[in-house]
Amino acid sequence: MHLRWPAPHGLLLPVLPVAGFERTRGTITLLLDERTALPDLVRLRPADEARFEGPLGRGFDIDARARHLLVVSDGEGFARVRAALDEAAAAGRQVTFLFGAPAASEVVPSSLLPDEAEYVVATEDGSLGHKGSLLELVPVYEAWADQCIASGATSLLAALAELARGRDDRLGVARLGRRRGRHAIAQPRATRRRSWLQVALPHEAGCALGVCLGCVVPGSDGPLRVCREGPAFGSSELAWERM
């Protein structure tokens, strides 16, 4: 889910993923990269007042029966999956987090993760963890994971979606229930909850209210607004060949 930050910007408001929240303390966590984040936001200090608008959009929808959750992200997508990591751990699920980065210097510290999560790192230069692409680790966990959530570069998500498409066949999973036809239109939440893979897309420039249509992505059944129907989608909801 997202928040909009109205001040001090007047036109395209910054849209910030909610990286965590605690109901009992009434806190919301936003993760900012000091190198690229808005200076005014980074400079906020305790007791400063700021106004945000939200929550906006739809988050991940994990099936209640899922006991093993695989979470996948690169640096760009981490803020969009972090809240789900906390929730899954708090719900007693077993969680494995696969994180990919170019080098050790860009790996998210484990202190930002729930203690209960297994943390597996892949770096392209081999300076930490598995040497190579994050995608090479996914097949190791796909049988174990009841569901997978992911966020990051579109190329990463598209590759994961390709893996997810072949998963049922690789694992010999039977499809139960009536076939409803190739173009069956399911309710979005049920589609999402049934999907083995759900992805959170970044919000590009736009109003974040579902009005301007600047954030639309191609869906399998028509255009989808990242700010309103997303940012989390079941992987089969998206038309990856047109992304």
Binding site: L11, L213, G214
Partner: protein, 320 residues
Amino acid sequence: MSIDLAPGRAGGLKVRHGVLVAAGGAGFANELLDALGDVTPGAIITSGTTRAPRRGNARPRMAALADGLLSSVGHPNPGLDAVLRRLAPRWGRADVPIIVNVCADSAEDIGWLARRLDMQPEVAGLELDLACADRGRGGLPIGLDLEASELATLAARAATDLPLVVKLSPLALDAREIARAVAAAGADAISAVGPLPALLIDDDRRRARLGTSYGGISGPALKPVALRVVYEIAQVVRIPIIGIGGISSLDDVLDFLAAGATAVGLATATLADPTLPGRLGAELETWRRNHGISEHRELVGTALPRRRDRGSLRATSALS
């Protein structure tokens, strides 16, 4: 107090105040109507709809400017029939007039759209968008061509008795000519202007920033351009003008009224604050009363040039 944006048409197009949501600021209005509460704009002009469904343009569709937006959304919509089927009932329950913006490449499509809207009781008016890219003209707006603008307006006028607002492009070499032509062809009001075509280069300098390369500037950067067009056409037409371009404050509203607009429209600013048009409408009313101005029309055209000797308007243009 209400303002009639189509005084020459039976029934008119009455709005409770002169600050509207312009096309692009509220989509097809359903989300905005649910969020407004008591803060209602004078009217809502919907985003552009077309005869056939349109997917819209390739991403990225928007980029922030220092003083505005560059956008190339491309009128994504499921086609007018689907828009009306899904949304007209909600419009019918709204306490604000809904004006539907239409975009078309041919007189035939314009006529079809106008006839279709003519049958909808929930629709208060039609905005014919001459500023949208015309794919039949290589992407150049119809509103650059005098004859095409006139024919488009005639096609809409012949097909509907709804109040007809014609939206001009800021690119027209002589906006006065276009304004005169569309007024003579039956427009009840003119809205000025649509976005200004422009381009940004991507950070890696290997491509344009937007998916379709070109986009339209909106927001504060457009205001002086829009003011120029309003100022020029107000000197040559008698029908109401809706000024559109970078309005986000009461001062902006007053500037456009002084330049000759009867009402104003906000789009980009509404994306950031959906309550802004309604709030500015209330502020305008308060300002008018506090300054002892008894009628809204006394605010209109105060900055237009006048002949010193006779007190009547002396037409000017940026071209002369």
